[in-house]
Amino acid sequence: MVRLWQAAAVIGAAIFCAFLSNRAAGPERRLPWVGDYPDARTVPVLLSAAAPTAVPSASRPPGVPGASTNEYPPHPDRPWVAISGDQALSLQGQGIPFLDARRTAVYLEGHIAGARSLPIWESTVDDGIKKLYEEGYDVNAPLVVYCSGGDCEDSHMLAERLHRFGFNNALVYTGGFPDWEKRGLPVEKGAPR
């Protein structure tokens, strides 16, 4: 028979060590004890086939990808809409902020030029969102969010978090960094300038 007091001691020691190590960890490695993620128990959570997509404006000049930010009205009823690589490129040209939802270490290895790091899996994410407020960023203006493309959900999760903070116009670049790189568009390495 298992000695219950021994099992309880192992679990107690584990909780104590977890508490100490989490306190000692840097911001990139620290976790809040209570997670703030969308319900993970439904499959798929975010990447549904019926993902809302930004509809290109009929007024766009032929052959020109993307257009003015008027094409992207706020969408307070849903946390994000998807955009293509062409649309992302156009928005970057207009100076729309890009937010990188991947881990800091991955961001440092390479990111879309000018993108800001807002890693959804790190404890700094809420501070990063608050900083957007402090900088006076209009909550109805577009923000492009991206991660690693494919099945990566980090950008959708970040868009949901932004939505809960009151940002109504997150645009998820679903192709993400791999698509950007494949197109040969400008990337940067290391910390943002």
Partner: protein
Amino acid sequence: MKSERSWWRSPWLSIRAQIGLGAIFAAAAVPKIFDPPAFAHMIYNYRLLPGSAVNAAALVLPWIEIWVGAALILGFWKRTAAWISGAMLLLFVGALTVNLVRGNPVNCGCFDLHAKDRPKAELLADMRWTIVRDAAILLLVAQVLSVNRKERRIGP
């Protein structure tokens, strides 16, 4: 029959099974302890826990693994450690099986927390192999438990 049982319970095999099991758990714990957010991401991908419980699991589970590993390697509370390791392995097998049935490919998150993007079919095949591997590790648990039962019977 008797020789089979004595082979299964031989001290030579027992010490190796016990240390091997402990080493597996300790090795699995180390990368998770050094990068809890990556492990939380892996747990989230399994889609079995509510979002609010993911972080607590990511913080505590690796430390349970390291204590279980230490107990088995150093030889204290062996039976309790083996029971906990067996329960955790069954938990992992269950989590993988549920996701296999759902057709939801996940990276195991057992030893490597930074797995690259891979095709769905490859991930699902890996999950099957991981279940087989965990079943093999459960044999080590069974060995440690059976030997310790014997020690208890003949002990003072």
